[in-house]
Homo-oligomer: 118 residues x 6
């Protein structure tokens, strides 16, 4: 299974179509280099990789990509608790405002997923 | 065992004395809040917490603290490979220059540890 | 009076309820460590602390928290002029785009407060 | 012709009025120092200056100003291709999330300009 | 008295000569715009401006300029305690690593000043 | 000619050997993806690409890589004046401290190159 499928889940086609339209070359690099080469490397399981991605994105302040990898972490076996711990810990390194912003987004993500399940 | 002991190892006393001299109040918060409260939380093992710390510190560009947690990760069971993967992955999110700087520091850390072992 | 009451004013209960729902543990740290321990320290008056908070948040790019502390600064005796000077000065250190973004938010904050007074 | 006119085009008056209202002193510095002094310097043509501005703003994460200079670059002779290359290259230095966010904004800018032309 | 004299003290000539040699135009802007125009504005006393400068520079991670303004703050009436509080507070917003780095630099600055006094 | 040769010049072998030793996989990505794929793209000449790289690295605060691309810009036809303008302009977007740090490094680079020529 492709790494994009593992992380993006059922959103794969929608993301793929959107990004191809935005810029096919940049999407090509994201697909072939970022996802299917680097994130596909052995040596770290995908759950840990997604927790690391969340940590990078909290520091960076990239809300759209953070939302993608919060769902990606859940999809690859991270528990709600593990993701909350990841966010809380980041407050030590990058400050409370960025950690709080990420936690609000995770709260919204959980509510969205819950309402979809119903 | 305290979390500081687990992460700082035999450097605990030297770090403790240095930071107390720099500012006892700030060190008090680092000791009691950052290490013995937040990093000591359950829900994530210390190895994963150290890989997350490395990721935050690469994004932040804090070389001194990065060195501390590169050693801390090794001390808590992360393999050389897992740390290299953590650094390589961060290039996707925060760019190659910060990832390369971190990898150079890890290379220097490994050489230092090797020469101490001899 | 608690520091949160001094900074959040009549929004205390709404913020408290919202953050507790988002993550009670993270909110606990924000309440007990960030506000009631660190921001409550002596050695700097609360007005100066709020101008410093504004400066940190401009650099960080955290609009939601910036709005909170722009109101917090007014609530603790900072004049409109002092806050404008704080924002203008930050342009030197972190560039015009972040300073301008903060000034637009302050402009919106002042209009909101004015319309509430009516 | 003023540099603001060259970069802001027909939006000059609207931007000028908005920024003067937000803060006349800060706008005065943006007008007299940032635009009519620094960006007006010789030694680099305005097209190159706008590609550099885009690069700074991608790193900074300032979407409002990025939109202004994406249009400014087009207005001063940068081709769509040159702007796409500028954005793609920035992924190497500041990571894929910021580059992708900028490309989405450029995609939206192009669509807006196209619909205005009709 | 010029603002540069007030902040740089007896180092004025050395700094002026060094920066003029590095780039006379950039130094001209730093002198005429940053110091003698913006930092010279009324509406905030110079002590507060220097505490704000320290806060911006901690967030930014610019050690050389931080050292300049740590001394500048002392020169303009900030107490050691006020500067320590400024640094400690910044840990909440930008994380412990940057605050600790700044405190180490302040510790070194105080020792240097003490040894010069002898 | 490879893009690495064009940017690194006679330092190619030294950089290649050093980076391969630091981490062959990360170096592989820098070589094959960053340099020989992305920086090698058509649509922007290499001189402009190097001025953009300098701008990204000033924002990022990566001094080692900045030094590499300051020399790389000179090697690909950028004049001293164009590089000074690139650095001065960045002060508007990311503040004076980062621009001044970059200009000091460029000053040192020019002196080093001058002394090597003798």
């Amino acid at each position: 299974m492709s790494i994009r499928k593992a992380i993006w889940g059922e959103q794969l086609e929608a993301i793929e179509q959107n990004l191809s339209e935005v810029d096919p070359d940049l999407y090509g690099y994201i697909r072939d280099f970022a996802y299917e080469e680097v994130l596909a490397r052995e040596g770290l399981d995908l759950k840990t990789r997604e927790l690391l991605a969340i940590t990078s994105l909290i520091a960076l302040g990239a809300p759209k990509e953070l939302a993608t990898h919060l769902e990606g972490a859940l999809r690859n076996g991270a528990t709600e608790r593990e993701i909350r711990e990841t966010i809380i810990q980041s407050a030590l390194f990058v400050g409370f405002p960025k950690a709080l912003g990420a936690m609000k987004m995770f709260h919204a993500t959980l509510r969205k997923l819950l309402s979809e399940e119903r």
